[in-house]
Amino acid sequence: MPLYYDDDQTMLAETASQFMGEEGSIKNQLRHWRDRDCKDGFGHGLWKQFAEMGFTGMLVDEDDGGLGMGQVEAGIVLEEIGRNLTPSPFLSSSVLAATALKHGSNDVKGRWLPDLISGDKVYAMAIDEGPKHRPERIATRAEKSGNGFRLSGKKDFVVYGASSEMIVVAARTSGSDDDKDGITLFAVPQDASGMSHDSVRLVDSSMASHVSFDNVELDGDAVIGEVDGGRAILDAVLMAGRVGSAAEGVGVARGAMDMTVDYIKQRKQFGRLIGEFQALQHRAAHLYSEVEIARAVTVKAAQLVDGGSEKAELMTSVAKAKVAKAAGLAVREGVQMHGGIGMTDEYDIGLYMKRDRALQEFLGDQYYHAGRVAELSGY
């Protein structure tokens, strides 16, 4: 398979680019909802449009009413989301939760998937416990209780958690906190008694919850997959989410870079365009190189995930780390090369810096993933 888009993918990219550039633009979405202090952090109208475009269920199997596409296609949409900083629950609902639900029984799928595909409901994913991503350790517990379970614990960084009709929760059903096995995934409905949200606004204007589970009673139907068999599903969810957030990061990097390169072609100082100065040219060219490489490895990782390759896990971590490095560089150089105006809220470049910061932390930063690359490579 060549490492560029085929005709269908190219068409999807054009469609997504146009849609996100218009409907999902910074002015129409991010600034619009932020300036109105929207408690959801995204627009439900736009989410319905996502559904009309077929984006919401793109990863859902055709048999279950979706489009049966893969990570490459989801990445195409996410890259455009990144370029336009479009706030949406696409990553949490249509990538993370949808990937988890793929492993559910027909009953579980039937209960949750139709509303996801139609855009009527959004779902979230609860993994992290503490400020850093460390999914190897899961302390939130679900004890057997009658025919069901009783869930107790705390989750952090549950993106759009308070606005979600259901949260997929990774909990421990056996073993100790650091065990690999003994994990079960649960579909916890919004109205579950004993679940409470402390919903906070993050630096990038998105919303995330600290979620507390205080003896939340769940029936057996809430289980996704097998009891104690959740680690493999969680790994699949993490892989999809990481390669997806890498794709969004590529979009953030490209958006920031394009804006900056355009700016230095227009801004004049000392009677010259600042883009004429070699001090800026070489930095811009280096940035271009880094962003190109990050983009290539992200598409590669997505292809490997879609192909079920044994290298998918390694290259997904490579992609997540590489994108973090490249996008971080793009936003830092972006603000610096914009000069004073880059520090103003009025100018968009700072918004890229904020989104990049949040995306860096989502599902593991460059340090976490470089560490994984080392472990997976045997050192």
Partner: protein, 394 residues
């Protein structure tokens, strides 16, 4: 070609490699003798090297994607990729390395006459003639077009005088493709891309000893060298048109940059950390640095794959080789810095048997040239600025 045809080709290729690639040829290249360059004076290191070369030559696999009539196997880009993947999977060494394959060949395929292709491409594919490249001059490094070596027109031949520098393996090469000024009044359109025998009267070479202690490059002197304008029917002694050699040179520089970016990174598919940690536990901060390097190096393998895919399908940006060259060579320098750090005092050994003749230290020093030869990193960044980012006045 359909996916199933391609998979059939893969299976066939795997079988062919299994049957024809000797086990000794599936080991990493350890020293210069492990590389077969071909040429009039070539000799094989051992029977395995010879058997592998012969098998590939007969199959057209020294230049798999060249047309069959010029000694190749006529593979499609997709088939070529499959062959490369399958060779990489068993660590097969290249059967033949040469500047003819990497540089002159692509130039002839693009600019050459039918007669030139028939003669020179077949000689290259069969490993009969080893070529070297005469571009840089002592006063013309990054500013290549300022070169002075002059060919005086004598009707059916030129008389060439001047000096080239950094001619790779000129002391072992049979023929040279050489940029020669043929019009002193026209800077860009006054250069001819000549082909001549290194055994011609008036050609002499002198190896240049590098900081690595090795001498892969020479100075090449031309003192009243006669270069015929024709070597026979439809075989001009120059490529492209007279006074238009700069077009060929520019095209070739692109190929040189591809080549350096493709080979310059060493064995990037292998994790540096996995290799380095075999010698003992890594300091935690060094381990972290190496992990960050491995992220960049593995990401670059994907970029290389994408670059090659786009190149073969004509999709890539024409200036993209400059980006590849910049990123690949900078990465290789970083890799070798880390190899030295991981190796500690053992890596300092310059001549001992244990160090394989100072392989680590000499290799480390050699990589410093990667970001100078074939266009410096700074020139690459200039080209990206101007041609890709379209920045003003660059």
């Amino acid at each position: 070609m359909s996916d199933s045809d391609l998979e059939a080709f893969r299976a066939e290729t795997r079988q062919w490699l299994e049957a024809n690639c000797p086990l000794e040829m599936r080991e990493p290249v350890r020293d210069e003798e492990d590389v077969y360059w071909g040429g009039r004076n070539a000799s094989f290191k051992n029977d395995a090297q010879k058997a592998w070369f012969e098998a590939c030559r007969q199959k057209g696999y020294t230049v798999p994607e060249w047309p069959k009539e010029y000694g190749g196997a006529g593979l499609t880009p997709a088939q070529g990729k499959v062959l490369r993947q399958e060779m990489a999977a068993i660590n097969a060494r290249p059967p033949l390395s040469s500047f003819g394959i990497w540089m002159l060949g692509p130039a002839l395929l693009h600019f050459g006459t039918e007669g030139q292709k028939q003669r020179f491409l077949n000689e290259i594919a069969n490993g009969e003639i080893r070529w070297c490249q005469g571009y840089s001059e002592p006063g013309s490094g990054s500013d290549l077009v300022s070169m002075q070596t002059f060919g005086e027109d004598k009707g059916d031949h030129w008389v060439v005088n001047g000096q080239k520098i950094w001619t790779s393996y000129a002391d072992e090469a049979d023929w040279i493709f050489c940029l020669v000024r043929t019009d002193k009044d026209n800077k860009y359109q006054g250069i001819t891309f000549m082909l001549f025998d290194m055994a011609s009267d008036g050609v002499s070479t002198k190896p240049i000893k590098l900081i690595s202690g090795n001498s892969p490059f020479c100075e090449t002197f031309m003192d009243d060298v006669t270069v015929p304008k024709s070597y026979g029917e439809d075989i001009p002694g120059y490529v492209g048109e007279i006074n238009r050699g700069w077009d060929v040179a520019k095209y070739l520089l692109g190929h040189e940059r591809e080549m350096i970016s493709a080979t310059g990174g060493g064995d990037r598919a292998t994790s540096l950390g996995a290799v380095a940690s075999r010698q003992g536990a890594l300091d935690p901060v060094l381990r972290a640095e190496i992990a960050m390097f491995d992220v960049d190096a593995l990401a670059y393998t994907a970029m290389s794959e994408k670059f090659m895919d786009e190149l073969k399908s004509g999709k890539g940006h024409p200036a993209q080789p400059n980006m590849m060259k910049y990123a690949g060579t900078e990465l290789n320098k970083r890799r070798n810095e880390l190899v030295m750090a991981a190796g500690g005092s053992h890596a300092l050994e310059w001549e001992s048997e244990a160090s394989n003749g100072g392989k680590a230290a000499r290799g480390w020093l050699r990589t410093k040239a990667n970001s100078i030869e074939g266009g410096t990193s700074e020139v690459m960044l200039n080209v990206i600025s101007k041609r890709i980012l379209d920045l003003p006045g660059a």
